[in-house]
């Protein structure tokens, strides 16, 4: 039995599926990197993916054009990201709690709109989906052909994005600003760059890519939608950023691991193992947790991550006022 499993792991079929299933996670995680690097925790990736998944499907269905679907998915992710940015950058609310709110908002909007548009019987209408790119003779190659040259366009886009994001973050002026904002917002403010503008754009870009990631769930094969279809992929993408130590290449490798885990559980089910299917569904999450515990030391993200920037205010001032409040509460 073990040899069957091992053999399966090097089959082109499995590897191709692993790459395909990595794509949504990869897009969302690369987007999340921008926001994380600028110092805004983005647990809202899940909601942004869900918005992209639904509106991508809806756009593709109504216009019968997948490209329009992708554009609408990206826009839907950006709109939700804008709310996250307003709440966490301008209003300065706790970024984790905001994310809980916007994830719930995305679940509400998508499942309500789905019922309103398609009725309560939730019949499945298929939208047009992405097609595989044909590389001619390259696609016919044994082994490499099905893995590398028989994927959908969004897969190539996602993987090409890895070096692009790396270049933007580490070799451009703009990337420097983003990273500096995450490490030391006060210094950025002092040299005359608006911390708020940098953070707004970073969060919006993360929404754009997460929206595309969501579309990569619905428009690559299933071509339909159901409630909460992203099923925690946004959270796994967030975890991948932590594993990847806030680095595009590391993050990409982490998402590849989870994509492979997902493909693995699908294959195992197909092989007819006598395990209940719930354990297969559990596998990617267990894998994520185990990798976190056994292979990762605690890693430190950008220093200012998760903290709202108050122009002109210093952290210690905030702390002092909090202490004062506490004292008053304790010894009246």
């Amino acid at each position: 039995m073990l040899s069957t499993v091992l053999k399966m792991l090097i089959e082109p079929d499995f590897l191709a599926a692993a790459i395909r299933l990595t794509t949504p996670l990869l897009l969302a995680a690369l987007g999340g990197l921008f926001s994380e690097r600028s110092g805004v925790l983005n647990l809202g990736l899940e909601g942004m993916m869900l918005m992209g998944a639904f509106f991508g499907y809806l756009g593709a269905l109504y216009t019968q054009n997948v490209v329009v679907g992708l554009v609408i998915a990206a826009l839907a992710g950006m709109v939700l990201a804008l709310i996250h940015a307003i709440m966490s950058v301008t209003v300065k609310v706790d970024q984790i709690v905001t994310a809980v709110g916007i994830n719930m908002l995305a679940l509400g909007i998508t499942s309500t709109a789905f019922r309103v548009i398609f009725g309560n019987d939730l019949q499945q209408i298929e939208s047009p989906g992405l097609r595989t790119v044909n590389f001619g003779p390259l696609s016919e190659l044994p082994f490499v052909g099905p893995i590398l040259f028989n994927q959908m366009s969004i897969v190539y886009f996602a993987f090409l994005l890895i070096p692009v994001v790396h270049f933007i973050l580490f070799h451009t002026h703009w990337g420097l600003k983003i990273r500096a904002t995450g490490e030391h917002p006060k210094a950025v403010d002092t040299v005359g760059t608006s911390v708020y503008t940098v953070r707004y754009w970073s969060v919006i870009i993360s929404g754009l890519l997460a929206g595309l990631g969501g579309a990569a769930v619905t428009l690559t094969g299933i071509n339909t939608f159901y409630d909460n279809i992203t099923a925690g992929r946004g959270f796994i993408a967030f975890a991948a950023i932590v594993f990847g130590k806030w680095n595009p290449v590391g993050t990409a490798l982490a998402t590849l691991l989870f994509g492979a885990g997902d493909a693995f559980q699908l294959r195992l089910q197909a092989l007819g193992f006598k395990l209940p299917y719930q354990f297969f569904l559990m596998l990617p999450y267990v894998l994520t947790l185990l990798v976190l515990v056994f292979f990762m030391g605690p890693s430190k993200g950008p220093v200012a991550s998760g903290q709202a920037y108050v122009k002109g205010g210093s952290k210690s001032k905030v702390r002092q006022s909090k202490l004062k409040l506490l004292k008053r509460e304790v010894n009246p």
């Binding site: 709690v97 809980v100 509400g108 309500t112 019922r115 209940p276 719930q278 999450y285 994520t288 947790l289």
Partner: protein, 367 residues
């Protein structure tokens, strides 16, 4: 001195009440917009929502039944938040609690009710606490972000419980994915005849009082709030922040476990797959709307329970999907957060009121 403090407190509470009311109104206005866009008359939809939630004794008790798990899980989440640890894992803890409680409650032990019921409740609490312990240990010992670990534990827990009703908990000889019915000696008693209202509500109310006393009147509660509001100061003043965090999370998980347990022992009476979708996440909204205060959580849970129950009636009468409740809840969370950061100035009226009150207090003392 004491009087001035009470007025200060009054001002704070009034600010909370006003901002909560504003956020609820804002969310209702936004959902009215959604209803209009869909072509439903919002007035009649909200009327059905209200009637379904509070219209008669049956509706109101159904609202309280929906409120019970939200209350228990919300109390736990609020407690952990006060210690500065984000327990997003109530969903998984709730499922695990329900599973272990079901296991204990379906054993035909022949025990009397006074033993069997508490045993089942304790089992549920223990399972919830255990599921919460893992992420808290990982945070304290290894520095892992509890948000991501609790979310992963949610998925693992829910899938495992769903497996249990296909596996070891499945009714012997049954074909459906469900457990055997709960033994009579392990059921929570009904509070009102001919309704579903069960003693789980009392458990929630007592829990709220216990947590309130624990937080506000004990040394541990003081320590917990210090760790939550300023971990560094707490550490330098010699508090054991790590132990405090773990205990806070254990209590939090126990309450979440109790939420799932009460739902099974009081209302559903057997364990099903996905028996309580999203309760653990909705309870986060309850905790926030309740301002992380046990008494506030009770009120917020009743409000959300009424919203859930009323939405069912609204769907039957007008065809508006129940899922619109998620939009209402989300807008409430976001606006509560927004308004809580904006300082609500009540204007000179309150200040003058303060002075008048102080003056009268002085006069009373003199007299």
């Amino acid at each position: 001195m004491k009087a001035r403090l009470d007025i200060k407190k009054f001002e704070v509470v009034l600010g909370y009440v006003i901002s909560s009311v504003i956020s609820i109104v804002v969310s209702l206005v936004i959902s009215a917009g959604v209803l209009l866009a869909q072509g439903t008359d919002p007035i009649s939809a909200f009327t059905y929502l209200f009637q379904g939630a509070f219209g008669d004794i049956g509706g109101f008790s159904a609202s309280l039944v929906s409120a019970t798990p939200l209350m228990l899980a919300g109390l736990g989440i609020a407690f952990a938040f006060r210690a500065g640890i984000f327990n997003i894992g109530a969903e998984g803890q709730l499922y695990l609690g329900a599973m272990l409680a079901t296991w204990v409650a379906t054993l035909p032990l022949g025990l009397p009710k006074v033993v069997h019921l508490p045993l089942a409740l304790l089992a549920g609490m223990a399972a919830g606490a255990f599921w919460a312990f893992i992420p808290s240990y990982l945070k304290v010992a290894k520095g892992f972000n509890e948000v991501i670990t609790t979310i992963l534990m949610n998925y693992i827990g829910v899938y495992f419980v769903n497996y249990s009703v296909h596996g070891f908990l499945q009714e012997p000889g049954g074909y459906l994915p469900q457990s055997a019915p709960i033994v009579e000696t392990a059921r929570l008693p009904k509070l009102v005849a001919n309704t579903e209202l069960h003693a789980g509500l009392l458990v929630g109310l007592v829990g709220a009082v216990v947590l309130y006393i624990l937080l506000q009147k004990t040394d541990f509660g003081y320590q917990l709030r210090c760790v939550g509001s300023n971990p560094e100061a707490a550490r330098t003043s010699g508090m054991n922040a790590k132990l405090t965090l773990i205990i806070a999370m254990l209590v939090s998980g126990a309450f979440a476990g109790l939420a799932g347990t009460a739902e099974i022992l009081g209302y559903q009476n057997l364990l099903l797959e996905n028996f309580s979708p999203n309760t653990g996440y909705d309870a986060i909204a309850v905790a926030l709307l309740g301002r992380l205060n046990p008494m506030g959580v009770v009120l917020a849970a009743i409000f959300f329970g009424a919203l859930r129950n009323g939405a069912n009636i609204m769907q039957i009468m007008t065809g508006v999907p129940v899922t619109i409740v998620y939009i209402i809840q989300a807008v409430i969370i976001l606006s509560v957060l927004g308004f809580s950061t904006c300082k609500i100035k009540l204007g000179f009226l309150l200040e003058r009121g303060n002075k008048v009150a102080l003056h009268s207090v002085k006069n009373v003392n003199r007299a």
